[in-house]
Symmetry: C3
Subunit: 210 residues, 3 copies
Protein backbone atom coordinates (compact mmCIF):
# COMPACT_ATOMS: atom_id res chain seq x y z
CA UNK A 1 0.00 0.00 0.00
CA UNK A 2 3.06 2.25 0.25
CA UNK A 3 3.92 4.64 -2.55
CA UNK A 4 6.91 3.49 -4.53
CA UNK A 5 9.34 6.41 -4.59
CA UNK A 6 9.92 7.79 -8.09
CA UNK A 7 13.64 8.12 -7.50
CA UNK A 8 15.02 4.73 -6.54
CA UNK A 9 18.67 5.05 -5.58
CA UNK A 10 21.30 3.12 -7.48
CA UNK A 11 22.26 1.08 -4.41
CA UNK A 12 18.64 -0.08 -4.05
CA UNK A 13 18.57 -1.33 -7.65
CA UNK A 14 21.92 -3.02 -7.06
CA UNK A 15 20.62 -4.83 -4.01
CA UNK A 16 17.37 -6.03 -5.62
CA UNK A 17 19.12 -7.65 -8.57
CA UNK A 18 21.74 -9.21 -6.32
CA UNK A 19 19.07 -10.59 -3.96
CA UNK A 20 17.21 -12.40 -6.73
CA UNK A 21 20.43 -13.93 -8.00
CA UNK A 22 21.38 -15.01 -4.49
CA UNK A 23 17.98 -16.59 -3.90
CA UNK A 24 18.34 -18.60 -7.11
CA UNK A 25 21.61 -20.11 -5.86
CA UNK A 26 19.82 -21.03 -2.66
CA UNK A 27 16.95 -22.72 -4.53
CA UNK A 28 19.42 -24.81 -6.52
CA UNK A 29 21.53 -25.82 -3.52
CA UNK A 30 18.52 -26.62 -1.31
CA UNK A 31 17.01 -28.80 -4.05
CA UNK A 32 20.33 -30.56 -4.54
CA UNK A 33 20.16 -31.44 -0.83
CA UNK A 34 16.58 -32.66 -1.31
CA UNK A 35 15.25 -30.12 1.16
CA UNK A 36 11.53 -29.48 1.60
CA UNK A 37 9.76 -26.16 1.01
CA UNK A 38 10.86 -24.80 4.40
CA UNK A 39 14.48 -25.55 3.61
CA UNK A 40 14.17 -24.17 0.09
CA UNK A 41 12.77 -20.87 1.35
CA UNK A 42 15.20 -20.55 4.25
CA UNK A 43 18.30 -21.45 2.26
CA UNK A 44 17.25 -19.10 -0.57
CA UNK A 45 16.62 -16.38 1.99
CA UNK A 46 20.00 -16.95 3.66
CA UNK A 47 21.79 -17.04 0.29
CA UNK A 48 20.09 -13.81 -0.75
CA UNK A 49 20.29 -11.79 2.47
CA UNK A 50 22.98 -13.58 4.48
CA UNK A 51 25.96 -11.54 3.33
CA UNK A 52 24.27 -8.19 3.81
CA UNK A 53 22.76 -9.28 7.13
CA UNK A 54 26.12 -10.41 8.49
CA UNK A 55 27.65 -7.10 7.32
CA UNK A 56 24.88 -5.14 9.05
CA UNK A 57 25.23 -7.13 12.27
CA UNK A 58 28.99 -6.53 12.25
CA UNK A 59 28.42 -2.81 11.55
CA UNK A 60 25.46 -2.71 14.00
CA UNK A 61 23.22 -1.22 11.29
CA UNK A 62 19.46 -1.55 11.83
CA UNK A 63 16.84 -2.03 10.60
CA UNK A 64 18.16 -4.75 8.34
CA UNK A 65 17.55 -4.37 4.62
CA UNK A 66 14.97 -7.16 4.47
CA UNK A 67 13.17 -5.86 7.57
CA UNK A 68 12.76 -2.46 5.94
CA UNK A 69 11.68 -4.05 2.66
CA UNK A 70 9.41 -6.93 3.62
CA UNK A 71 8.29 -7.04 -0.03
CA UNK A 72 11.58 -8.80 -0.89
CA UNK A 73 11.02 -11.40 1.82
CA UNK A 74 7.52 -11.97 0.46
CA UNK A 75 8.92 -12.18 -3.09
CA UNK A 76 11.35 -14.93 -2.10
CA UNK A 77 8.54 -16.66 -0.20
CA UNK A 78 6.35 -16.70 -3.32
CA UNK A 79 9.27 -17.78 -5.51
CA UNK A 80 10.00 -20.64 -3.06
CA UNK A 81 6.37 -21.79 -3.33
CA UNK A 82 6.63 -21.69 -7.14
CA UNK A 83 10.17 -23.07 -7.28
CA UNK A 84 9.38 -26.37 -5.61
CA UNK A 85 6.85 -27.72 -8.14
CA UNK A 86 8.52 -26.00 -11.10
CA UNK A 87 12.12 -26.90 -10.28
CA UNK A 88 12.46 -29.45 -13.08
CA UNK A 89 11.32 -26.90 -15.64
CA UNK A 90 13.51 -24.23 -14.07
CA UNK A 91 16.50 -26.55 -14.25
CA UNK A 92 15.90 -27.11 -17.96
CA UNK A 93 15.50 -23.39 -18.67
CA UNK A 94 18.33 -22.11 -16.48
CA UNK A 95 21.60 -23.77 -17.45
CA UNK A 96 24.75 -23.78 -15.32
CA UNK A 97 26.12 -21.05 -17.57
CA UNK A 98 23.20 -18.75 -16.74
CA UNK A 99 23.67 -19.37 -13.03
CA UNK A 100 27.39 -18.60 -13.22
CA UNK A 101 26.75 -15.38 -15.13
CA UNK A 102 23.96 -14.26 -12.79
CA UNK A 103 26.12 -15.16 -9.81
CA UNK A 104 28.99 -13.08 -11.19
CA UNK A 105 26.65 -10.11 -11.60
CA UNK A 106 25.41 -10.60 -8.03
CA UNK A 107 28.97 -10.84 -6.73
CA UNK A 108 29.92 -7.53 -8.31
CA UNK A 109 26.84 -5.73 -7.11
CA UNK A 110 26.86 -7.14 -3.57
CA UNK A 111 30.56 -6.49 -3.04
CA UNK A 112 30.56 -2.87 -4.19
CA UNK A 113 27.37 -2.11 -2.26
CA UNK A 114 29.02 -3.63 0.82
CA UNK A 115 32.03 -1.35 0.54
CA UNK A 116 29.75 1.67 0.13
CA UNK A 117 27.71 0.73 3.23
CA UNK A 118 30.86 0.14 5.29
CA UNK A 119 32.30 3.50 4.24
CA UNK A 120 28.99 5.16 5.14
CA UNK A 121 29.52 3.65 8.61
CA UNK A 122 33.03 5.21 8.73
CA UNK A 123 34.92 1.92 8.62
CA UNK A 124 38.69 2.05 8.00
CA UNK A 125 39.58 1.26 4.41
CA UNK A 126 40.84 -2.32 4.71
CA UNK A 127 37.83 -3.26 6.85
CA UNK A 128 35.56 -1.62 4.24
CA UNK A 129 37.13 -3.80 1.52
CA UNK A 130 36.59 -6.86 3.75
CA UNK A 131 32.95 -5.86 4.31
CA UNK A 132 32.56 -5.71 0.54
CA UNK A 133 33.91 -9.24 0.16
CA UNK A 134 31.80 -10.46 3.12
CA UNK A 135 28.67 -8.96 1.54
CA UNK A 136 29.61 -10.61 -1.76
CA UNK A 137 30.47 -14.10 -0.55
CA UNK A 138 28.89 -14.77 2.86
CA UNK A 139 25.42 -15.37 1.47
CA UNK A 140 26.97 -18.36 -0.28
CA UNK A 141 29.13 -19.26 2.73
CA UNK A 142 26.15 -19.34 5.10
CA UNK A 143 24.10 -21.20 2.46
CA UNK A 144 26.79 -23.91 2.28
CA UNK A 145 27.15 -24.11 6.08
CA UNK A 146 23.39 -24.63 6.47
CA UNK A 147 23.57 -27.25 3.71
CA UNK A 148 26.36 -28.98 5.68
CA UNK A 149 29.06 -28.39 3.07
CA UNK A 150 32.52 -26.87 3.33
CA UNK A 151 31.84 -23.47 1.71
CA UNK A 152 32.53 -23.76 -2.02
CA UNK A 153 34.18 -20.35 -2.12
CA UNK A 154 36.86 -21.52 0.35
CA UNK A 155 37.89 -24.67 -1.42
CA UNK A 156 37.42 -24.60 -5.17
CA UNK A 157 40.53 -22.52 -5.82
CA UNK A 158 38.63 -20.28 -8.21
CA UNK A 159 39.31 -16.55 -7.86
CA UNK A 160 35.82 -15.68 -6.66
CA UNK A 161 36.36 -13.71 -3.46
CA UNK A 162 39.58 -12.39 -4.97
CA UNK A 163 37.62 -10.76 -7.83
CA UNK A 164 35.41 -9.10 -5.22
CA UNK A 165 38.48 -8.00 -3.28
CA UNK A 166 40.15 -6.40 -6.32
CA UNK A 167 36.87 -4.74 -7.31
CA UNK A 168 36.43 -3.39 -3.79
CA UNK A 169 39.84 -1.76 -4.02
CA UNK A 170 39.09 -0.45 -7.52
CA UNK A 171 35.98 1.23 -6.08
CA UNK A 172 38.00 2.66 -3.19
CA UNK A 173 40.68 3.84 -5.63
CA UNK A 174 38.16 5.47 -7.99
CA UNK A 175 37.00 7.67 -5.11
CA UNK A 176 40.31 9.52 -5.40
CA UNK A 177 39.53 10.43 -9.04
CA UNK A 178 37.04 12.88 -10.56
CA UNK A 179 34.64 10.06 -11.49
CA UNK A 180 31.16 10.37 -9.94
CA UNK A 181 30.23 7.89 -7.22
CA UNK A 182 27.54 6.29 -9.42
CA UNK A 183 30.04 5.70 -12.22
CA UNK A 184 32.58 4.36 -9.73
CA UNK A 185 29.97 1.94 -8.31
CA UNK A 186 28.91 0.58 -11.69
CA UNK A 187 32.45 0.45 -13.07
CA UNK A 188 33.70 -1.52 -10.08
CA UNK A 189 30.71 -3.87 -10.07
CA UNK A 190 31.15 -4.50 -13.81
CA UNK A 191 34.89 -5.01 -13.29
CA UNK A 192 34.21 -7.74 -10.70
CA UNK A 193 31.61 -9.42 -12.92
CA UNK A 194 33.84 -9.43 -15.99
CA UNK A 195 36.92 -10.50 -14.00
CA UNK A 196 34.89 -13.35 -12.50
CA UNK A 197 33.60 -14.49 -15.88
CA UNK A 198 37.04 -14.27 -17.53
CA UNK A 199 38.62 -16.31 -14.74
CA UNK A 200 35.72 -18.79 -14.92
CA UNK A 201 36.32 -19.32 -18.64
CA UNK A 202 40.06 -19.63 -18.05
CA UNK A 203 39.59 -22.08 -15.19
CA UNK A 204 37.34 -24.29 -17.33
CA UNK A 205 39.92 -24.21 -20.08
CA UNK A 206 42.68 -25.18 -17.67
CA UNK A 207 40.60 -28.07 -16.34
CA UNK A 208 39.80 -29.39 -19.79
CA UNK A 209 43.54 -30.00 -20.30
CA UNK A 210 43.87 -32.20 -17.23
Amino acid sequence: MKHVPVHVSLITVIEIVAILVGALSGFVEARRKRMDIVGVFTVAFIAAFGGGTLRDILLDRRPLFWVMHQEYAILIFVLALLATPLMRTVKQIISERVIVVADAVGLGLFAVAGVAQAQAAHMPVFIASMMGVITGIFGGVLRDIVCNEVPMVFRDGKPYAICAFFGAWLYIGLQYTDISDDTALWTSAAFITILRLVTWKFELHLRSHH
Copy 2:
Protein backbone atom coordinates in the same frame (compact mmCIF):
# COMPACT_ATOMS: atom_id res chain seq x y z
CA MET B 1 18.96 -13.40 46.03
CA LYS B 2 16.51 -11.37 43.99
CA HIS B 3 12.83 -11.31 44.93
CA VAL B 4 10.73 -13.30 42.50
CA PRO B 5 7.96 -10.99 41.31
CA VAL B 6 4.49 -12.17 42.37
CA HIS B 7 3.03 -11.37 38.97
CA VAL B 8 4.97 -13.30 36.35
CA SER B 9 3.85 -12.29 32.87
CA LEU B 10 2.45 -14.88 30.52
CA ILE B 11 5.29 -14.47 28.03
CA THR B 12 7.81 -15.25 30.79
CA VAL B 13 6.04 -18.51 31.62
CA ILE B 14 5.88 -19.31 27.91
CA GLU B 15 9.61 -18.81 27.51
CA ILE B 16 10.60 -20.87 30.59
CA VAL B 17 8.66 -23.94 29.46
CA ALA B 18 9.94 -23.62 25.90
CA ILE B 19 13.54 -23.26 27.10
CA LEU B 20 13.43 -26.50 29.10
CA VAL B 21 11.95 -28.35 26.16
CA GLY B 22 14.59 -26.93 23.83
CA ALA B 23 17.40 -27.89 26.19
CA LEU B 24 16.12 -31.47 26.28
CA SER B 25 16.35 -31.73 22.49
CA GLY B 26 19.92 -30.45 22.76
CA PHE B 27 20.82 -33.05 25.40
CA VAL B 28 19.49 -35.84 23.21
CA GLU B 29 21.22 -34.64 20.03
CA ALA B 30 24.55 -33.96 21.76
CA ARG B 31 24.53 -37.42 23.33
CA ARG B 32 23.68 -38.95 19.97
CA LYS B 33 26.83 -37.30 18.63
CA ARG B 34 28.77 -38.68 21.64
CA MET B 35 29.70 -35.21 22.81
CA ASP B 36 31.30 -34.56 26.17
CA ILE B 37 29.83 -32.44 28.98
CA VAL B 38 30.96 -29.20 27.33
CA GLY B 39 29.21 -30.15 24.10
CA VAL B 40 26.11 -31.34 25.96
CA PHE B 41 25.78 -28.04 27.83
CA THR B 42 26.55 -25.86 24.79
CA VAL B 43 24.27 -27.72 22.39
CA ALA B 44 21.45 -27.73 24.98
CA PHE B 45 22.02 -24.03 25.55
CA ILE B 46 21.99 -23.29 21.81
CA ALA B 47 18.88 -25.44 21.28
CA ALA B 48 17.11 -23.67 24.15
CA PHE B 49 18.15 -20.06 23.53
CA GLY B 50 19.37 -20.07 19.92
CA GLY B 51 16.09 -19.11 18.27
CA GLY B 52 15.33 -16.28 20.66
CA THR B 53 18.93 -15.07 20.59
CA LEU B 54 19.01 -14.94 16.79
CA ARG B 55 15.68 -13.08 16.84
CA ASP B 56 17.02 -10.57 19.36
CA ILE B 57 20.24 -10.05 17.38
CA LEU B 58 18.20 -9.46 14.22
CA LEU B 59 15.90 -7.07 16.11
CA ASP B 60 18.88 -5.53 17.99
CA ARG B 61 17.17 -6.17 21.34
CA ARG B 62 19.42 -6.22 24.39
CA PRO B 63 19.97 -7.46 27.00
CA LEU B 64 19.31 -10.96 25.71
CA PHE B 65 16.76 -13.05 27.60
CA TRP B 66 19.36 -15.40 29.08
CA VAL B 67 21.62 -12.50 30.09
CA MET B 68 18.76 -10.92 32.05
CA HIS B 69 17.82 -14.27 33.58
CA GLN B 70 21.11 -15.97 34.39
CA GLU B 71 19.12 -18.41 36.56
CA TYR B 72 18.03 -20.20 33.34
CA ALA B 73 21.62 -20.51 32.15
CA ILE B 74 22.55 -21.93 35.56
CA LEU B 75 19.57 -24.29 35.40
CA ILE B 76 20.70 -25.72 32.05
CA PHE B 77 24.25 -25.93 33.41
CA VAL B 78 23.07 -28.03 36.36
CA LEU B 79 20.83 -30.15 34.13
CA ALA B 80 23.80 -30.77 31.80
CA LEU B 81 25.87 -31.95 34.77
CA LEU B 82 23.04 -34.29 35.81
CA ALA B 83 22.13 -35.31 32.26
CA THR B 84 25.48 -36.83 31.41
CA PRO B 85 25.61 -39.56 34.06
CA LEU B 86 21.84 -40.07 34.06
CA MET B 87 21.31 -40.12 30.27
CA ARG B 88 20.63 -43.85 30.09
CA THR B 89 17.92 -43.56 32.72
CA VAL B 90 16.55 -40.42 31.08
CA LYS B 91 16.40 -42.22 27.75
CA GLN B 92 14.37 -45.03 29.31
CA ILE B 93 11.98 -42.64 31.04
CA ILE B 94 11.54 -40.16 28.19
CA SER B 95 10.34 -41.91 25.06
CA GLU B 96 10.42 -40.46 21.56
CA ARG B 97 6.70 -39.73 21.94
CA VAL B 98 7.31 -37.56 24.99
CA ILE B 99 10.05 -35.65 23.17
CA VAL B 100 7.80 -35.02 20.16
CA VAL B 101 4.96 -33.78 22.37
CA ALA B 102 7.24 -31.56 24.45
CA ASP B 103 8.84 -30.27 21.28
CA ALA B 104 5.43 -29.44 19.81
CA VAL B 105 4.56 -27.49 22.97
CA GLY B 106 7.87 -25.64 22.75
CA LEU B 107 7.32 -24.86 19.08
CA GLY B 108 3.95 -23.26 19.77
CA LEU B 109 5.16 -21.24 22.71
CA PHE B 110 8.41 -20.06 21.10
CA ALA B 111 6.78 -19.09 17.82
CA VAL B 112 3.96 -17.03 19.31
CA ALA B 113 6.34 -15.34 21.77
CA GLY B 114 8.59 -14.48 18.83
CA VAL B 115 5.77 -12.80 16.93
CA ALA B 116 4.83 -10.82 20.04
CA GLN B 117 8.43 -9.63 20.56
CA ALA B 118 8.79 -8.67 16.90
CA GLN B 119 5.56 -6.70 17.00
CA ALA B 120 6.73 -4.96 20.17
CA ALA B 121 9.77 -3.91 18.10
CA HIS B 122 7.41 -2.50 15.41
CA MET B 123 8.33 -5.03 12.72
CA PRO B 124 6.13 -5.17 9.60
CA VAL B 125 3.65 -8.02 9.74
CA PHE B 126 5.28 -10.56 7.40
CA ILE B 127 8.65 -10.03 9.10
CA ALA B 128 6.93 -10.51 12.49
CA SER B 129 5.54 -13.86 11.29
CA MET B 130 9.03 -14.82 10.10
CA MET B 131 10.50 -13.83 13.48
CA GLY B 132 7.95 -16.14 15.10
CA VAL B 133 9.04 -19.04 12.92
CA ILE B 134 12.74 -18.19 13.46
CA THR B 135 12.20 -18.15 17.23
CA GLY B 136 10.38 -21.48 16.95
CA ILE B 137 12.78 -23.37 14.71
CA PHE B 138 16.25 -21.80 14.81
CA GLY B 139 17.16 -23.28 18.18
CA GLY B 140 16.90 -26.63 16.43
CA VAL B 141 18.55 -25.34 13.25
CA LEU B 142 21.58 -24.00 15.11
CA ARG B 143 21.69 -27.18 17.23
CA ASP B 144 21.86 -29.28 14.04
CA ILE B 145 24.48 -27.02 12.42
CA VAL B 146 26.73 -27.30 15.50
CA CYS B 147 26.16 -31.07 15.43
CA ASN B 148 27.26 -31.06 11.75
CA GLU B 149 23.89 -32.17 10.37
CA VAL B 150 21.67 -30.72 7.67
CA PRO B 151 18.97 -29.13 9.84
CA MET B 152 16.20 -31.70 10.35
CA VAL B 153 13.49 -29.06 9.96
CA PHE B 154 14.66 -28.30 6.41
CA ARG B 155 14.72 -31.83 5.08
CA ASP B 156 12.25 -34.18 6.75
CA GLY B 157 9.25 -32.87 4.82
CA LYS B 158 7.18 -32.70 7.99
CA PRO B 159 5.05 -29.59 8.44
CA TYR B 160 6.99 -28.29 11.43
CA ALA B 161 7.89 -24.71 10.53
CA ILE B 162 4.65 -24.53 8.56
CA CYS B 163 2.64 -25.17 11.74
CA ALA B 164 4.53 -22.30 13.39
CA PHE B 165 3.88 -20.12 10.35
CA PHE B 166 0.12 -20.74 10.35
CA GLY B 167 -0.01 -20.22 14.12
CA ALA B 168 1.88 -16.95 13.79
CA TRP B 169 -0.71 -15.71 11.32
CA LEU B 170 -3.55 -16.96 13.56
CA TYR B 171 -2.08 -14.87 16.38
CA ILE B 172 -1.75 -11.85 14.08
CA GLY B 173 -5.33 -12.38 12.86
CA LEU B 174 -6.74 -12.72 16.39
CA GLN B 175 -5.43 -9.24 17.17
CA TYR B 176 -8.16 -7.87 14.90
CA THR B 177 -10.85 -9.52 17.06
CA ASP B 178 -12.15 -8.69 20.56
CA ILE B 179 -10.17 -11.55 22.10
CA SER B 180 -7.69 -10.46 24.81
CA ASP B 181 -4.00 -10.67 23.98
CA ASP B 182 -3.43 -13.40 26.60
CA THR B 183 -6.18 -15.55 25.09
CA ALA B 184 -4.84 -14.92 21.60
CA LEU B 185 -1.33 -15.97 22.70
CA TRP B 186 -2.47 -19.21 24.34
CA THR B 187 -4.94 -20.04 21.58
CA SER B 188 -2.32 -19.62 18.85
CA ALA B 189 0.33 -21.54 20.80
CA ALA B 190 -2.13 -24.38 21.43
CA PHE B 191 -3.16 -24.30 17.75
CA ILE B 192 0.47 -24.78 16.68
CA THR B 193 1.01 -27.59 19.20
CA ILE B 194 -2.12 -29.47 18.19
CA LEU B 195 -1.53 -28.91 14.46
CA ARG B 196 2.01 -30.22 14.89
CA LEU B 197 0.86 -33.32 16.79
CA VAL B 198 -1.95 -34.05 14.32
CA THR B 199 0.41 -33.79 11.35
CA TRP B 200 2.95 -35.91 13.22
CA LYS B 201 0.39 -38.68 13.70
CA PHE B 202 -0.72 -38.37 10.11
CA GLU B 203 2.85 -38.43 8.80
CA LEU B 204 3.63 -41.58 10.79
CA HIS B 205 0.47 -43.17 9.43
CA LEU B 206 1.42 -42.24 5.86
CA ARG B 207 4.88 -43.70 6.31
CA SER B 208 3.57 -46.97 7.72
CA HIS B 209 1.82 -47.57 4.36
CA HIS B 210 5.02 -47.25 2.32
Copy 3:
Protein backbone atom coordinates in the same frame (compact mmCIF):
# COMPACT_ATOMS: atom_id res chain seq x y z
CA MET C 1 50.55 6.13 9.96
CA LYS C 2 49.02 6.34 13.44
CA HIS C 3 51.25 6.81 16.46
CA VAL C 4 51.52 3.69 18.56
CA PRO C 5 50.61 4.68 22.12
CA VAL C 6 53.49 4.32 24.56
CA HIS C 7 51.27 2.77 27.18
CA VAL C 8 49.59 -0.29 25.73
CA SER C 9 47.09 -1.74 28.16
CA LEU C 10 47.49 -5.28 29.40
CA ILE C 11 44.25 -6.42 27.78
CA THR C 12 45.49 -5.19 24.39
CA VAL C 13 48.68 -7.24 24.73
CA ILE C 14 46.59 -10.22 25.82
CA GLU C 15 44.37 -9.95 22.78
CA ILE C 16 47.23 -9.55 20.26
CA VAL C 17 49.00 -12.70 21.43
CA ALA C 18 45.77 -14.66 21.54
CA ILE C 19 44.80 -13.51 18.04
CA LEU C 20 48.06 -14.72 16.49
CA VAL C 21 47.67 -18.09 18.20
CA GLY C 22 44.08 -18.36 17.03
CA ALA C 23 45.02 -17.51 13.44
CA LEU C 24 47.65 -20.26 13.46
CA SER C 25 45.02 -22.86 14.40
CA GLY C 26 42.93 -21.57 11.52
CA PHE C 27 45.81 -21.88 9.05
CA VAL C 28 46.42 -25.47 10.10
CA GLU C 29 42.75 -26.50 9.96
CA ALA C 30 42.10 -24.76 6.63
CA ARG C 31 45.14 -26.45 5.07
CA ARG C 32 44.01 -29.81 6.44
CA LYS C 33 40.74 -29.26 4.57
CA ARG C 34 42.75 -28.33 1.43
CA MET C 35 41.23 -24.86 1.31
CA ASP C 36 42.52 -22.18 -1.03
CA ILE C 37 43.97 -18.82 0.02
CA VAL C 38 40.51 -17.33 0.55
CA GLY C 39 39.55 -20.17 2.87
CA VAL C 40 42.89 -20.02 4.67
CA PHE C 41 42.51 -16.31 5.37
CA THR C 42 38.85 -16.51 6.35
CA VAL C 43 39.21 -19.55 8.60
CA ALA C 44 42.28 -18.02 10.27
CA PHE C 45 40.38 -14.77 10.72
CA ILE C 46 37.37 -16.57 12.19
CA ALA C 47 39.56 -18.68 14.47
CA ALA C 48 41.37 -15.57 15.67
CA PHE C 49 38.49 -13.12 16.05
CA GLY C 50 35.41 -15.38 16.14
CA GLY C 51 35.18 -15.81 19.91
CA GLY C 52 35.63 -12.13 20.68
CA THR C 53 33.30 -11.10 17.85
CA LEU C 54 30.52 -13.43 19.06
CA ARG C 55 31.01 -12.09 22.60
CA ASP C 56 30.79 -8.50 21.35
CA ILE C 57 27.67 -9.23 19.27
CA LEU C 58 26.03 -10.86 22.31
CA LEU C 59 27.05 -7.89 24.48
CA ASP C 60 26.20 -5.41 21.69
CA ARG C 61 29.66 -3.85 21.94
CA ARG C 62 30.85 -1.86 18.90
CA PRO C 63 33.10 -1.15 17.17
CA LEU C 64 34.44 -4.69 17.10
CA PHE C 65 38.05 -5.19 18.13
CA TRP C 66 39.24 -5.97 14.60
CA VAL C 67 37.33 -3.02 13.14
CA MET C 68 39.10 -0.65 15.55
CA HIS C 69 42.45 -2.31 14.85
CA GLN C 70 42.51 -2.98 11.12
CA GLU C 71 46.28 -3.56 11.46
CA TYR C 72 45.50 -7.02 12.93
CA ALA C 73 43.23 -7.88 10.00
CA ILE C 74 46.00 -6.79 7.62
CA LEU C 75 48.52 -8.83 9.63
CA ILE C 76 46.46 -12.01 9.27
CA PHE C 77 45.95 -11.19 5.58
CA VAL C 78 49.73 -10.98 5.03
CA LEU C 79 50.33 -14.11 7.12
CA ALA C 80 47.72 -15.97 5.02
CA LEU C 81 49.53 -14.92 1.84
CA LEU C 82 52.81 -16.17 3.33
CA ALA C 83 51.31 -19.25 4.99
CA THR C 84 50.06 -20.85 1.80
CA PRO C 85 53.40 -21.27 -0.02
CA LEU C 86 55.36 -21.78 3.21
CA MET C 87 52.98 -24.22 4.89
CA ARG C 88 55.23 -27.24 4.43
CA THR C 89 58.12 -25.42 6.06
CA VAL C 90 55.83 -24.09 8.78
CA LYS C 91 54.57 -27.59 9.47
CA GLN C 92 58.14 -28.83 9.91
CA ILE C 93 59.07 -25.97 12.22
CA ILE C 94 55.89 -25.88 14.29
CA SER C 95 55.23 -29.27 15.87
CA GLU C 96 51.93 -30.37 17.39
CA ARG C 97 53.46 -29.70 20.80
CA VAL C 98 54.09 -26.05 19.93
CA ILE C 99 50.52 -25.65 18.66
CA VAL C 100 49.07 -27.15 21.84
CA VAL C 101 51.19 -24.89 24.04
CA ALA C 102 50.40 -21.77 22.02
CA ASP C 103 46.74 -22.74 22.01
CA ALA C 104 46.77 -23.14 25.80
CA VAL C 105 48.27 -19.67 26.15
CA GLY C 106 45.62 -18.28 23.82
CA LEU C 107 42.86 -20.03 25.73
CA GLY C 108 43.96 -18.48 29.02
CA LEU C 109 44.34 -15.00 27.60
CA PHE C 110 41.10 -15.02 25.57
CA ALA C 111 38.99 -16.41 28.40
CA VAL C 112 40.15 -13.97 31.07
CA ALA C 113 39.87 -11.02 28.68
CA GLY C 114 36.33 -12.16 27.87
CA VAL C 115 35.32 -12.16 31.53
CA ALA C 116 36.81 -8.67 31.97
CA GLN C 117 34.91 -7.33 28.94
CA ALA C 118 31.65 -8.88 30.10
CA GLN C 119 32.06 -7.42 33.58
CA ALA C 120 32.79 -4.02 32.04
CA ALA C 121 29.41 -4.41 30.31
CA HIS C 122 27.81 -5.12 33.71
CA MET C 123 26.93 -8.75 33.01
CA PRO C 124 25.80 -10.92 35.94
CA VAL C 125 28.58 -13.12 37.23
CA PHE C 126 27.62 -16.50 35.74
CA ILE C 127 27.02 -14.89 32.33
CA ALA C 128 30.42 -13.18 32.63
CA SER C 129 32.07 -16.57 33.23
CA MET C 130 30.21 -17.94 30.19
CA MET C 131 31.37 -14.98 28.09
CA GLY C 132 34.92 -15.82 29.13
CA VAL C 133 34.53 -19.41 27.96
CA ILE C 134 32.79 -18.26 24.75
CA THR C 135 35.66 -15.86 24.02
CA GLY C 136 38.11 -18.67 24.71
CA ILE C 137 36.54 -21.47 22.70
CA PHE C 138 34.17 -20.07 20.05
CA GLY C 139 36.94 -19.04 17.69
CA GLY C 140 37.70 -22.74 17.45
CA VAL C 141 34.02 -23.71 17.41
CA LEU C 142 33.22 -21.38 14.50
CA ARG C 143 36.44 -22.50 12.74
CA ASP C 144 35.29 -26.13 12.98
CA ILE C 145 31.73 -25.33 11.85
CA VAL C 146 33.04 -23.51 8.76
CA CYS C 147 35.35 -26.49 8.13
CA ASN C 148 32.27 -28.76 8.35
CA GLU C 149 33.42 -30.62 11.48
CA VAL C 150 31.70 -31.29 14.77
CA PRO C 151 33.56 -28.79 16.98
CA MET C 152 36.59 -30.54 18.50
CA VAL C 153 36.06 -28.85 21.85
CA PHE C 154 32.61 -30.47 22.20
CA ARG C 155 33.63 -34.04 21.50
CA ASP C 156 37.20 -34.88 22.43
CA GLY C 157 36.46 -35.18 26.15
CA LYS C 158 39.51 -33.12 27.03
CA PRO C 159 39.03 -30.51 29.76
CA TYR C 160 39.56 -27.54 27.45
CA ALA C 161 36.53 -25.32 28.03
CA ILE C 162 36.49 -26.56 31.63
CA CYS C 163 39.97 -25.10 32.21
CA ALA C 164 38.69 -21.78 30.87
CA PHE C 165 35.63 -22.06 33.09
CA PHE C 166 37.65 -22.66 36.27
CA GLY C 167 40.06 -19.87 35.34
CA ALA C 168 37.16 -17.50 34.75
CA TRP C 169 35.90 -18.20 38.26
CA LEU C 170 39.42 -17.84 39.69
CA TYR C 171 39.57 -14.38 38.10
CA ILE C 172 36.14 -13.51 39.48
CA GLY C 173 37.16 -14.82 42.91
CA LEU C 174 40.44 -12.89 42.95
CA GLN C 175 38.47 -9.66 42.58
CA TYR C 176 37.33 -10.15 46.18
CA THR C 177 40.94 -10.15 47.39
CA ASP C 178 43.50 -7.33 47.68
CA ILE C 179 45.31 -8.48 44.52
CA SER C 180 45.52 -5.83 41.76
CA ASP C 181 43.41 -6.38 38.65
CA ASP C 182 46.53 -6.80 36.45
CA THR C 183 47.86 -9.51 38.74
CA ALA C 184 44.48 -11.20 38.88
CA LEU C 185 44.28 -11.19 35.05
CA TRP C 186 47.74 -12.70 34.55
CA THR C 187 47.37 -15.17 37.40
CA SER C 188 44.07 -16.48 36.06
CA ALA C 189 45.32 -16.63 32.46
CA ALA C 190 48.44 -18.50 33.59
CA PHE C 191 46.28 -20.82 35.73
CA ILE C 192 44.19 -21.75 32.67
CA THR C 193 47.26 -22.28 30.50
CA ILE C 194 49.00 -24.49 33.07
CA LEU C 195 45.82 -26.41 33.91
CA ARG C 196 45.27 -27.02 30.20
CA LEU C 197 48.84 -28.24 29.67
CA VAL C 198 48.77 -30.48 32.74
CA THR C 199 45.49 -32.07 31.67
CA TRP C 200 46.86 -32.43 28.12
CA LYS C 201 49.87 -34.35 29.41
CA PHE C 202 47.66 -36.46 31.65
CA GLU C 203 45.16 -37.16 28.87
CA LEU C 204 47.92 -38.29 26.52
CA HIS C 205 49.25 -40.56 29.24
CA LEU C 206 45.79 -42.06 29.83
CA ARG C 207 45.36 -42.71 26.13
CA SER C 208 48.72 -44.38 25.78
CA HIS C 209 47.48 -47.06 28.20
CA HIS C 210 44.43 -47.97 26.12
